[in-house]
């Protein structure tokens, strides 16, 4: 179950990905909620997911901008701005946004990823108009004082210490991403590099804000006890009053060259609890793939590496007892790229090299022999069920559509995901395994508690970046 919980999360993440089925979907009988969509005159996209079971709503605004859109040298500015959005506007004093939501009986928060920045409130249906007014207000009227900026910068530095500096596995993760992407900004962490975060200032934040925050670069998603007509009326009276920004350009970020050699990172850190092995492969995403490849990659990784029924778990944990845990997944949600990831903790007395060789042997076997029909069908069932379970939760549904739309998927594609999965054959899975499990497109990471654990040490100690 320890392994499983990891796998489960990975699975939930994958559910957030979007399908690229060539034709409109929802032709099958998978239970789902009806979704309405329309556009405001200023170009703001709107999606409504009615669920009348409880008198509450989830209101989200997604901007088509994330950390990967940052200019070089100001890493972390997308996320820093997201924090600063909770400061003041002409109408609201600093910090009053969240306090107002709270007084109204609601909860609010926000998050930033490489491709998206999203703000959300969960609140009673009666307050929808109020939170829309406030969210529309801060879309264009943000005011920042030097003092607010300076204090909040200390907060994000503490956030980086909590998430990364205190956690060697997170440090290794950053190093691996930086090695995986040689040109694309996906190689820079969302939270930013420490030395650049320390220099972020008010001008950096405001310039990023003015460039990217506008109704025609945003998606409104409302899920819960509300009708599309109600949302349209409220949206036209709030977001609809904001002029479009004609300078918003389609996102066009550096593309990745075809890599020519595998990269390896060995890191020694006494704070690591156990030796750990990780492997990432660059892969296409649902947005960049040849139709059907991303679905096949999702299913490939479910069968091979996710959960206790997977090939790797069965062979390495159950049968050969070479690993304490092993798991893997395909992350296909990115606008410009996807990733295949595998991680394992060796059993006591087993070297990382030995475990890595075994993982490579299993991958080679999958490339040669493919996966069984039974395992593929089971994997489809698991993912389609996850998709169905999401209809119980309005926030999950709001996020499902948000993650998809923000990288350019359509509602039909998102709704068509179960059907697109059903179409994947064992031949498809074998083909994508051969195409994308290419060691030259990969990064392998070793994390060791001490030097002595590292076979062929020496190159290892330098991997640790500057801290704090």
């Amino acid at each position: 179950m320890l392994v499983r919980s990891t796998a489960l999360l990975a699975m939930v993440m994958m559910m957030l990905t979007t399908a690229q089925a060539p034709q409109a979907a929802a032709a099958d009988d998978t239970p789902r909620r009806d979704v309405a969509q329309f556009k405001l005159d200023n170009g703001m996209q709107v999606v409504v997911v009615p669920d009348t079971r409880a008198p509450v709503i989830t209101h989200m605004v997604w901007y088509r901008v994330g950390a990967a859109d940052e200019p070089r040298g100001v890493s972390g500015i997308a996320h820093f701005l997201e924090h600063l959005m909770f400061k003041s506007t002409e109408k609201l004093a600093s910090g009053e946004f969240s306090k107002t939501v709270s007084r109204l009986g609601g909860q609010d928060n926000a998050f930033t990823s490489q491709d998206a920045t999203a703000y959300f409130q969960r609140i009673s249906r009666e307050q929808l108009g109020t939170v829309m007014r406030m969210e529309a207000d801060r879309m264009v009227n943000l005011r920042l004082t030097e003092e607010d900026v300076k204090t909040e910068r200390d907060v994000i530095l503490e956030e980086r210490r909590s998430r990364v500096e205190n956690n060697p596995a997170a440090i290794l993760g950053e190093q691996m991403e930086a090695a995986l992407y040689m040109s694309h900004t996906y190689g820079i962490p969302v939270i930013g590099w420490m030395h650049e975060m320390k220099e972020l200032d008010r001008e950096d934040a405001l310039s990023f804000y003015k460039k990217h925050y506008a109704p025609n670069n945003a998606i409104l998603i409302v899920a819960g006890d509300v009708t599309p007509d109600e949302v349209r009326k409220l949206a036209e009276g709030t977001y609809g009053k904001i002029a479009a920004n004609d300078n918003i350009k389609p996102r066009n970020r550096a593309s990745e060259p075809k890599a020519r050699a595998p990269r390896r990172i060995k890191m020694v850190d006494a704070r690591a609890g156990k030796p750990t092995l990780r492997r990432s492969y660059l892969a296409p995403s649902y947005q960049t793939d040849e139709p059907g490849d991303a679905e096949a990659l999702d299913l490939l990784m479910k069968v091979v590496a996710s959960g206790p029924t997977s090939t790797m778990y069965r062979e390495l944990v159950v049968e050969k007892k070479l690993a304490a845990s092993v798991s893997g997944y395909y992350a296909g949600h990115g606008l410009d790229s996807g990733k295949i990831a595998i991680g394992a903790v060796p059993a006591d007395g087993v070297s990382l090299e030995k475990l890595e060789a075994e993982i490579d042997r299993i991958l080679a076997d999958v490339k040669q022999n493919g996966v069984s029909e039974a395992a593929l069908e089971r994997a489809k069932k698991v993912y389609i069920a996850e998709y169905i379970y999401e209809i119980d939760n309005q926030s999950s549904l709001a996020r499902r559509y948000g993650w998809g739309l923000v990288v350019g998927a359509t509602i039909d594609e998102i709704d068509g995901w179960p059907d697109a999965l059903r179409k994947v054959t064992t031949a498809d899975v074998k083909r994508v395994a051969n195409e994308y499990l290419d060691i030259n497109q990969s990064v392998t990471g070793y994390l060791k508690p001490s030097e002595s654990d590292v076979a062929g040490a020496g190159a290892a100690a330098k991997a640790k970046p500057e801290q704090g």
Partner: protein, 452 residues
Amino acid sequence: MFARSMSVSTCLHRAALALTAFAAAAFISLAAPEARAMKIQVVKSPGGIEAWLVEERSVPLMAMRFAFEGGSAQDPTGKEGVANFLTVMMDEGAGDLDAARFQELEEELSFRMRFSDSRDTFSGSFQTLTSNRDESLRLLKLALTKPRFDQDAVERMRKQLLSGLAFAAKDPNRVASKVWAATAFPDHPYGRPSRGTLDSIAAIQPADLEAYRKRIFAKDTLKIAVVGDIDAETLGKVLDDVFGDLPAKAELTKVPDTKPVTGGVQRVVQMPVPQSVAVFGTPSIARDDPDFIVAFVMNQILGGGGFASRLMEEVREKRGLAYSVYSYLQPYDHAAIFAGGVATQNEKIGESLKVIRSELERMAKDGPSDEELANAKSYLIGSYALRFDSNAKIAQQLLGIQLDKLGIDYPDKRNELIRAVTVEDVKRIAERILNVDDLIVTIVGQPVGIPG
């Protein structure tokens, strides 16, 4: 532990309240749908097993939550962590199904079955699609009544648990919580590590798992909540099918009532991390104390979730000393604590703790302002409905209400209880709970300027 793309690459504005160290599944965080009536039926099976049911036929799903009294407080001495061990063994084979086949069926039938232990309960979460309900429930029953504990599966899970302990030993958050509990409750089950130690996990045998299961999985302490696509009559049969074969009576070891040590203790655990993690707490009041709701409101003002709390304002918003700072009430069955946490770079953790102490003192001395109380009440009352917006969440709430013995009308009464709280009430309870001289603090890291 491994990067999970979105979850790792996403940075939140505010951390979710980090309650894992202490969170009892049972602790209900109070919420009531005011605008729409929710009909809770008490279903009694032909065999006499009771469950609370909310029928919700609009989605073809059913969510069930259930719990037995027990939890890690019932782990025998020397076998600490056995309850937690059992939670990971529940789908490792049962009846005629070995682990591999059981887990394949779990996927083929697409049901979700998870078990967890708190200090006082062993609980289960089960969700199924209507289309696979009967067969899925058959596997739940097998897991509860005929788990196999095959030696091979036990050894495999043991390795994973030991590996988990090795990671936890280097995780400042986990260490801070563990040391806090050990400091607060010496010589009491609540002071022991609920996930066990390297020695205790190494010592646990299949017979220990089975002994725990037999003692704890019993009908007299069982509480069940079901929400979803099922009617009362069908549920009655399900209850007998799934739980009917369990023993009538649990064999619980007596756990004495206790209190965290008083007098003020501060412990520092050195760890080479740039940011110190601190956990703090004092004795508090029980869930059945007439003032519990008052204390709950007090905590909301002081350090409860959201940006509106005093700790958030003083530590983060004004001074930028932390990303996350919080407090909460944890009413266990046999002790009650007020606790909280903060993480700040080593050089400034002393300042964070000083600010927190002075906020606790200020609340104890002066209580809240009228405005703070009004704001906290309107948040708590308004947001209650947010706890009831999915089958799974409603089931969780209804189980919590049963475990806390609050009565089936609690969702209707709860907001009235909040409304009735006065400034004087909050001041009185703050004075009673927030004794900074009794504060137990554990700090993990390389704190500067703090003796230890």
